[in-house]
């Protein structure tokens, strides 16, 4: 994959009527990469896309598209196309004409248009719907027309604003795969907006986590999941069990903390000092529970009671209650070979631990 930056965002600020929406955004989109903007509702994802599409001007800062300053480029000149959050399909045109619109603007011949539009519609599984009006389509079908309409122009960057949000689970999974294949096939960069962390993790080459108009962290899905930069990223990406503790003792290499009356020695990768307050994060799938009868050595384990058992098909999710009343989530995978007994009953007493080193230690935040 080429390492060239197709889009460079440098120190972008954006405010509407005195209200700061985006603060000092610095971001690169590499050619051919699948980049996801992930963040809660209202954090400025759509606003950032609109700046890239040229539908909005930044208050300050610079955007380079393909190495050129985009300040004076109109949306028409950018070769960047958008799949709008609200679809914005032309209600008076058929599906075919909607998809053909951008090509007609470029003066592509009708024969060529016919070919490309039909191919595109086949790709989004809307063959046979050419002559329908958008009002005669379901929400998911409209969304796919919106995707087809933007993709058919073969832009250098495709911006997608929550393009899968109104699809049902199966179609959504299908479209995730199709979009990913499409992106590989076209070899163009996708900037994809979602507030579904699972979608972000499974599709992206790179994830940008945004919060209240700031980029909090950028990295590969694995980086973001395994080494979140702060507690809000960690809690936004997936579930976590969090213990707020004070460091008992620390040196350059290790810290000592007490969790549920047991002192653990953990790696010190954040230059923590004795007396620092930290969040100790353990993912549900890293939290291990054991039947009382299974275990002899309980030196590094703490007790809990099963509070809830949720059968999920491939996993069993447990809610367990610690003696002090704190609740933890646990995900146990069925592992037929291992023969481990994952049938738990509510009210059962269990032992709990986690593989030391799989925890995440983050500085304490309010």
């Amino acid at each position: 994959m080429a390492e060239k930056n197709i889009i460079e965002i440098r120190g972008i600020f954006k405010s509407y009527g005195g209200q700061q929406i985006l603060q000092n955004i610095n971001l690169n989109v590499k050619d051919g990469e699948f980049l996801t903007l992930l963040g809660p509702s209202g954090c400025g994802k759509t606003t950032l896309l609109r700046l890239l599409a040229g539908l909005e001007k930044p208050t300050s800062g610079q955007i380079l598209i393909n190495g050129k300053d985009a300040k004076d480029m109109t949306p028409q000149e950018r070769h960047v196309n958008t799949v709008f959050q609200s679809y914005a399909l032309f209600p008076h045109m058929t599906v075919f004409d909607n998809v053909a619109f951008g090509l007609r603007c470029d003066g592509v011949t009708e024969v060529e248009i016919e070919r490309r539009v039909n191919e595109m519609l086949r790709m989004v599984r809307l063959s046979g719907y050419e002559q329908r009006k958008p009002s005669e389509l379901s929400g998911g079908q409209q969304q796919r027309v919106a995707i087809a309409r933007a993709v058919v122009k073969e832009p250098i960057v495709l911006l997608l604003d929550e393009p899968l949000s109104s699809l049902d689970y199966r179609l959504r999974k299908n479209m995730q795969i199709e979009l990913k294949q499409l992106q590989r096939k076209l070899g163009i960069a996708f900037v994809f907006v979602t507030h579904d962390q699972e979608e972000a993790l499974s599709m992206s080459d790179s994830i940008v986590v945004m919060q209240q108009g700031n980029v909090v962290q950028q990295g590969t899905p694995r980086d973001i999941y395994e080494t979140p930069k702060n507690i809000s990223v960690a809690t936004f990406i997936g579930e976590s069990n969090i213990f707020d503790v004070v460091i008992d003792d620390a040196n350059d290499k290790t810290i000592k903390v007490t969790v549920q009356d047991i002192q653990y020695e953990l790696e010190n990768d954040g230059q923590f000092k004795r007396g620092d307050k930290i969040h100790l994060l353990i993912r549900p799938e890293d939290t291990r529970v054991y039947h009382r009868s299974e275990i002899d050595d309980i030196k590094m384990m703490f007790p809990a009671v099963v509070n809830e058992v949720i059968y999920k098909g491939t996993t069993v999710d447990l809610i367990i209650k610690l003696p002090d009343g704190k609740l933890l989530s646990v995900t146990e995978f069925f592992d037929e070979d291992n023969g481990e007994d994952v049938t738990y009953v509510i009210g059962e007493s269990v032992w709990v631990n986690w593989p030391i080193g799989w925890e995440v230690v983050l500085p304490y935040e309010e």
Partner: protein, 283 residues
């Protein structure tokens, strides 16, 4: 509570329309099949004579001419009114209200009074001629008053707001994101206008044209005041038959014919739009 009020208001409007719209139209329809009688309003005797009379070439000529004037006036109102409505709809909300107020302000004066004012503007030594003369654009006063042009100007002036308002209402709720999508797809401004904005404002355009076309054929006092004896609208014809010739049945037949023609026009549009231009559902 709210339901009662709804029933009451809808009921009131329906009653109003039934009495003053439907009922009076039915009276007209009945009247148009009765025999003319100089001494009474009409004679209770069925006849098709009134409609046969309308095929007289003189009536036919007035019909055509009236249609022609109304068509030109509607076209002119559309050309003037569309940009006007577009501009108002793009103003900030507060200015929009001001603009609408200014647009409707003249309507607080009687239309007849305003037409008299128009006379004094257009007459040989009126404001328009004086201005054009002193600017050196013309060398002798234009004879505008008592011509078809004067009638057209008067009609356009009186009817323009009826074109602007429906189009404005349509454009005001226009989904801006469609324009953004078109830009994003590389459409030039002229393309956006031709392919997106105009087609989507067709309901407003049709509404405006309907509101302008019918009055443009029937506003007889404008033709009376500005057109002199020369210009004759369908409205004048109907007026004459009722008031001068005292021939109520034939007057009724004329207006029924006019209504039928307009109704056919609207029905054609309605059927076409139901099949093909189903915009409103999607907006």
């Amino acid at each position: 509570m709210r339901n009662k009020f709804q029933y009451f208001s809808v009921g009131l409007i329906t009653t109003w329309l039934c009495i003053f719209g439907l009922l009076s139209f039915l009276v007209m329809v009945v009247m148009s099949f009765l025999q003319h009688d100089p001494d009474h309003i009409a004679l209770w005797h069925f006849t098709l004579q009134n409609y046969e009379d309308l095929f007289d070439p003189i009536f036919f000529k007035i019909f055509i001419k009236s249609f022609y004037i109304a068509f030109m006036v509607t076209a002119a109102c559309l050309l003037l009114g569309y940009p006007f409505a577009y501009i108002i709809s793009r103003l900030p909300e507060r200015l929009q209200n001001t603009a609408l107020l200014l647009l409707l302000l003249p309507f607080w004066t009687s239309s007849v009074v305003r037409t008299y004012a128009m006379m004094s503007l257009l007459k040989t030594k009126g404001l328009l001629n004086t201005a054009l003369l002193s600017l050196g654009l013309i060398h002798e006063p234009l004879q505008i008053l008592f011509t078809n042009t004067a009638v057209a100007i008067g009609l356009i002036y009186n009817l323009l707001p009826f074109m602007i308002l429906p189009i404005y209402v349509n454009l005001e709720r226009f989904d801006i994101s469609l324009i953004e999508a078109a830009k994003d797809l590389g459409a030039k401004y002229t393309t956006i206008f031709r392919k997106v904005i105009i087609p989507l404002s067709i309901p407003g355009i049709v509404g405006g044209c309907t509101l302008v076309f019918l009055p443009a054929m029937t506003l007889f006092f404008i033709s009376d005041l500005l057109g002199g004896a020369k210009a004759l609208l369908l409205g004048n014809l109907i007026e004459d038959q009722f008031l001068m010739a005292n021939n109520w049945p034939r007057g009724a037949a004329t207006s029924v014919l006019l209504t039928v023609i307009m109704a056919i026009g609207l029905l054609i549009y309605w059927f076409k739009s139901n099949k093909r231009i189903n915009y409103d559902a999607a907006i």
